[in-house]
């Protein structure tokens, strides 16, 4: 594998693309030559965090407007894997969301907490007028 793999994807804000992009994340996890951990688990977690982040960007950020794009970048090296998901919505306070655990019988509200549990570093920033969810997984 070269020093760093960069994947750049842009799709309309439609949930029909979730499976395809999750699968790309899984395939990338299986292609990491020097990863010593449980590869199957890593692949599942990358698929899951991509799916949760994208669902958030499509449904809440872009309000499922297919005229708005969601932009995703995935960057992987021997040290870490970084996923960035850009949306054009009003944004939200990730630290406040992360503090609120879904009650056992809540139907929603688990997505961000799942990301926070599985990734090593999670930020939600504003960059040039768009929101960016940045999720980093350490691979060493």
């Amino acid at each position: 594998m070269p020093k760093r793999v960069e994947i750049n994807i842009k799709v309309p804000s439609q949930t029909r693309y979730l499976a395809m992009i999750g699968q790309i994340g899984e395939s990338l996890a299986f292609s990491l030559n020097n990863y010593q951990g449980n590869r199957r688990e890593l692949a599942y977690h990358i698929n899951l965090c991509l799916t949760e982040g994208l669902t958030n960007a499509i449904c809440h950020g872009n309000n499922s407007d297919p005229d708005k794009d969601v932009h995703i970048t995935i960057s992987a090296s021997d040290d870490d894997l970084v996923i960035r998901i850009y949306d054009q919505g009003p944004g939200f306070d990730i630290s406040a969301r992360g503090k609120t655990n879904a009650q056992p019988c809540d139907e929603g509200g688990r997505g961000i907490n799942i990301i926070l549990k599985l990734m090593d570093n999670v930020k939600y920033l504003q960059e040039n007028g768009v929101n960016v969810l940045e999720m980093t997984k350490a691979l060493q």
């Binding site: 979730l18 999750g22 899951l48 799916t51 949760e52 997505g111």
Partner: protein
């Protein structure tokens, strides 16, 4: 979402015939369960043998079914979870909410 519905006495067995349950298809399962509740069918077993991947939206659809079944004095039980799917219930602590069975037969026995 592709699902198959079979009835065994008062129990409705919903077999999910998809590898993925996510925000794209979980709404269909939720709607189908609501139709069953409207028909007075509230003893459900969901067979997840085929499901390899579930996200928070998939879990949310199952929670919706569980709440609606419970509100009607019925039940919603799960069976045949693949290890990664099972791990999602543990990660979100939903394994404490649902009755989860290894096989369909055990789920059906637990129903009576």
């Amino acid at each position: 979402m592709q699902i198959k519905i079979n009835e065994k006495e008062e129990t409705v067995i919903i077999t999910v015939e998809e590898e993925r349950m996510d925000a794209h298809n979980s709404g269909n399962l939720k709607e189908r369960m609501l139709q069953l509740f409207d028909e007075g069918k509230c003893q459900l077993v969901i067979d997840l043998t085929a499901v390899r991947f579930i996200d928070s939206s998939g879990l949310g659809a199952l929670v919706s079914g569980f709440k609606n079944a419970s509100a009607r004095d019925g039940s919603l039980k799960l069976c045949c979870l693949q290890p990664q799917v099972r791990s999602m219930f543990e990660l979100t602590r939903l394994h404490r909410v649902f009755e989860i069975f290894t096989t369909l037969e055990e789920a059906l026995e637990g129903q009576s």
